[in-house]
Amino acid sequence: MLPVFKSQLKKDIRSPWTILLLTLGSILLTFVFANTNIQTQTTVPIFSSEKNGSEVEEKWASLLNNNQNYKFVISDEEEARTDVEEGDSGAAIQLSERDYKIIAASNTRAVQFIEDYVHTVFTQEAQLKAASGSYDVDATRNEVNAYLEEPPLHIQVESIDGGDVPEYNMLMQLLFGFTLFMAMFTIGFKVNAVTADKVSGVWDRMILSPLSKTGMYTGHLFYSFFIGFMQIVVVLVIFNYLLGYDLGYHFGMILTVAAVFTLSMVSMAMLFTGFIKTPEQFNMIYPSIIPIVPVISGVYMPPGVLSNPVLLFIADLFPLTHAMGALMDISLYDAGWNEITLPLVLMLLIGVVCMGVGVNLVERRKD
């Protein structure tokens, strides 16, 4: 076992580019997609074709821009209309003193949201105006705003026992997701060394040597595990300690889940190896299946979007779903060992089944 392990390690030390590339890749992907503020503002052009157009525009622009989701920008009519026609913005708003008209490219839900918001602002303004009568509207508005500082009705979201509910953290989900996803590639490429050895004849020469077959397999598989796990550890350590991401208080538990996940993925890669003959075929099939796994497992989407039972069942066949669930539970909800036992056991089960079938398929092949 050890000589095989060492020989594989030597190969990677001589040309470490694959691993470095994939490690850097997972940090890079996380940075581009997870490190950005996902809640971006939608820009909506506004214009007025009235005589005192600029006055009307100024007035409504300041009133409409009191929110976080939309940014209303003053523009002229022609520009706004071409923007909408060419699909650069979903809707534009034509303003008059007391009324508005939405100019939309099509009847989408996003347009409906904009309309709802604009309607509320206009209605409130109309009511303010009516309420202030002959007095100054701005004075009434200030009074109303002062009153609303301490509104009579408000809502308090809490957990069942009255504590805080942690806000779901999509950034963290993407961070774990990309890290595990990239590790899946590394693991696959490393397990593929078994087939590469067979094709190059090294495997046959090893069989003639005093090495046992178990030793040959364990050497390769343990090395794949070692590299895959190291990659995950390095990425997580960088994020947790160097870049200051808060991954919760149980880094040890996170690493345990990562280790079990790696083990399970090594087995899964072995199963793929069982179906193919040459390393090139592996490089063709494995990378075309793997990118779909996070899509199906819902790594890129907030939880709850995927609800189809068939899809959930397929996702459960891959260790990624269980690992993601356990990691999020640990870092967000401070889950203990009891809560993550089930995902750990399921991952181990997937690992045992895949490894059993995979090694059998490899051994029974008649070349």
């Binding site: 590339l21 890079l28 009324d99 939309a104 206009f122 809502i155 090139e280």
Partner: protein, 420 residues
């Protein structure tokens, strides 16, 4: 060159099983995803069905009585107390909250039931309820005091949930919106003390430029996203075949036959183009026949698809030129594969093949417009939404630019005689 093209097609033909897999996998995946997402668009999560438990700890009658006692203690004239009590009963604070959940418009998708707290907690823990809306004890009295006597009090409605989900977010947003409207009315009432005139409410109105435009649904998005992703894999596959030819010294033998090395590269490019084109068209036609994703589209639509697919296939063919040259140059086959995968993953992630890029910041979206898949996905979705009202020239020009650029890089990196 033709003989090399023939050779590459034969190489694929000999590996029928693998080629068939790479042709069928995208169709299979689209079928699965379509099954899961059919009829859904990005803004909604399909049919939302919210189950909430309404826990009424507040006793309205007792609250009103307590309020009356407070008024009596305040040394007010009897007439005024009576008027205020009438107003308080009309206001009916907890009734206001309960009436929200009895709104017939909402009852289609919000199912609220009045239950006891213990029962509610059990149901939430069994995931049968999404949230508990709790109107706390003394709510009536506190709110009346706040609104009518200006006595600040903590009058929060408690929404208890186990964890955040789409359902709970919609529920809290809705309650919040309802409360904001009420608060605004309270504020107006307090500020003007009931002397308001009639408001001239806005009429609104909507002018839709393109009535026939349709919202793209997830099944259609995934069809184009997945098929273009798998097209990128073909470029890597062709390079993988090159690795076999390198290992078995086919390439060196080809060089010895005194044929121009570029012919070899050209054979790869043309065969990639053909394979990509066939794969994409197959995916579009097969998914349409099997799932009816694009039913009722005109011949013009399919012509547009053919144009988009053709230009995208060119880009992929160009990419395969780079990959082939790199494969011949790099010593370690696995490193080369890692590199190809990274390149493909970055292009795919930026191009919106895994998730729509609309939710990411402007600079990511701008970058997306400069990846072959990003151009294809956005051109396709726009084409689907607005028909041929959109301009094809820009995206197709970019796509050709990619083809030529990739091709040049591929040729420049291609190892000459004696270097491979």
């Amino acid at each position: 060159m033709i003989s090399f093209f023939k050779k590459d097609l034969l190489v694929f033909w000999r590996d029928r099983k693998e080629v068939l897999i790479s042709l069928l996998v995208p169709i299979l995946i689209i079928i699965v995803l379509n099954f899961a997402f059919s009829g859904k668009t990005f803004e909604d999560a399909g049919d939302i069905d919210i189950h909430a438990g309404l826990v009424l700890e507040d006793n309205e009658a007792a609250g009103l009585r307590q309020f009356e006692e407070t008024l009596l203690e305040m040394d007010l004239p009897e007439m005024e107390i009576e008027a205020m009590m009438e107003q308080a009963e009309a206001l009916s604070p907890s009734g206001l909250m309960v009436s929200l959940f009895n709104d017939p418009d909402l009852n289609d998708w919000i199912h609220a039931q009045e239950i006891s707290e213990l029962e509610a907690i059990e149901l939430v823990e069994n995931s049968e309820l999404d949230a508990i809306v709790k109107i706390p004890e003394g709510f009536t009295y506190d709110l009346l005091g706040h609104v009518m006597l200006d006595q600040p009090a903590n009058t929060a409605i408690h929404v208890q949930i186990e964890e955040h989900s789409i359902e709970t977010n919609i529920l809290t947003d809705m309650i919040n919106h309802y409360m904001e409207t009420l608060n605004f009315q309270f504020a107006l009432g307090a500020v003007t003390e009931g002397e308001a005139g009639d408001a001239v409410l806005p009429q609104g109105g909507r002018e839709v430029i393109n009535e026939s435009a349709v919202e793209i649904d997830l099944a259609q998005y995934f069809t184009v996203a997945m098929s273009s992703l798998f097209a990128l894999f073909i470029a890597a596959t062709v390079a993988a075949k090159t690795a076999t030819e390198k290992r078995e010294r086919v390439f060196n033998r080809i060089l010895l036959t005194n044929s121009h090395p570029f012919s070899y590269l050209m054979g790869k490019i043309i065969s990639t183009f053909c394979l990509t084109w066939i794969q994409l068209m197959l995916v579009f036609f097969a998914t349409n026949l099997l799932l009816g994703i694009f039913t009722g589209k005109s011949a013009e639509f399919w012509l547009g698809i053919i144009v988009i697919v053709t230009f995208f296939s060119l880009s992929v063919a160009g990419l395969s030129a780079i990959f082939t040259s790199l494969m011949l140059r790099m010593k370690n086959v696995n490193t080369a594969h890692g590199l190809f995968m990274m390149v493909i993953m970055v292009i795919a992630a930026l191009g919106g093949n895994f998730f729509p890029v609309e939710q990411f910041p402007a600079w990511v979206q701008a970058l997306s417009e400069w990846t072959p898949t990003g151009i294809t996905v956005s051109l396709f979705t726009e084409f689907l939404q607005y028909g041929n009202a959109i301009s094809f020239a820009g995206p197709l020009l970019k796509q050709s630019g990619f083809f030529i650029g990739f091709l040049l890089i591929g040729i420049l990196m291609f190892p000459g005689r004696g270097r491979a």
